[in-house]
Symmetry: C2
Subunit: 193 residues, 2 copies
DNA sequence: AGTTAAGCGGACGATATCGTCCGCATGGTT
DNA sequence: AACCATGCGGACGATATCGTCCGCTTAACT
């Protein structure tokens, strides 16, 4: 992870240190703001929450769409990480699935996935990350079918979708984390053959 | 269901027939629009989709907030109806729960519940309807605990929340209904003691 | 079929948000 | 420590959306 990114190096030099910082602060502020106010949140709000000027936001992300796209990418990356981490252990597959879903809840506050509320465009890179996450979970489910801990009719997409839904936080629900964990545990119980 | 509504009659006369029609069309169009574009959807879009002028929208719902509030109320009413209908049958409680959740999915396209994406204010009347729905489901869960078809640690809120989450439709998921049904069936399987 | 008040539509001024632009600040380099 | 290119902030003109207002239309009643 050095110099220019994956596809045909576009970035000429390293970003200046303050620029790297600011970029990260903008992303964090944006995630929080989008969760709080939805995808139509004014860029000025994001900028203010990040403690930078609007100009800085637009420099790093040339349009609102680009910013939202970056949030989505970041979120799928988190999902991928959670899936990878969960799959690494040698516990029964169903336990790994449970761990994955719990992890997703934990990441909840930072996840901005393309749920309803404005069309978040998903770019090519993001599609790749999403595909990787799917593959990881696919393997996990196969393992579950094989070791007999998971019923065979479960789709990979179900896990991602369920996780995405749980990453939402309903404003009127106090103590969301606990509720989400209950939902997961019951769902996981239903996963047994 | 005649004349003025429940609480202290506010409406002086009956609405004219065309007015009733238009009100309904606005609500339907608004539900669709909000699902498609989020709660920040321009009022002009709603009006256009309903085939009326903006003036008409604002006459029936004095502010955007009022319109969103009406949608929320209507949605909880649907949830209540689904819960009532499901509880009426004399099948085992767990089957009724399953029916309730499937019904909720069916209503999906019309449900606009206070999920993330802008604070939908929930008014007093709506709170009452929501409470009724909760009571209905409470009774159902008790019955389930009693007839031994449902584990006792399930919270009523879980059902409402799960239903609400399922009523979302993730834009990138094709054939959402089928997926949602799978999620429900697995969840319901997990509900057994 | 005439009367009238309820209802309708959409133009309009006010306001909010967008994304750009440019003079100033600062990290990095010699 | 001096240079300067990268990065920063926020004012600004352009655009989008808001909610109101009022002259016209039409349902409802006689």
């Amino acid at each position: 992870m050095n110099e220019s990114q994956s596809s045909a190096g576009v970035r000429r030099r390293e970003l200046r240190r303050d620029a790297v910082d600011n970029r990260e602060r903008v992303l964090a502020a944006a995630a929080a703001a989008v969760r709080r106010e939805g995808t139509a949140v004014p860029m000025a709000t994001v900028a203010a929450n990040a403690g930078v000027g609007v100009g800085t936001v637009y420099r790093h992300f040339p349009s609102r769409e680009a910013l939202l796209g970056a949030l989505t990418h970041r979120s799928f990356q988190m999902v991928l990480d959670a899936a990878t981490k969960a799959a690494e252990t040698d516990q029964p597959a169903i336990a790994a699935v449970r761990a994955f879903l719990h992890q997703t809840i934990e990441h909840g506050p930072d996840l901005v996935l393309p749920l309803h509320g404005g069309p978040l465009v998903v770019d090519e890179d993001t599609v790749k990350v999403r595909a990787q996450a799917h593959r990881r979970l696919d393997a996990l489910l196969s393992r579950g079918e094989h070791d007999g801990t998971i019923r065979p009719d479960v789709r990979t997409a179900d896990l991602v979708i369920f996780g995405a839904l749980l990453a939402q936080q309903l404003p009127y629900v106090p103590d969301w984390t606990r509720t989400a964990r209950r939902l997961v545990d019951i769902y996981v119980a239903g996963l047994a053959p």
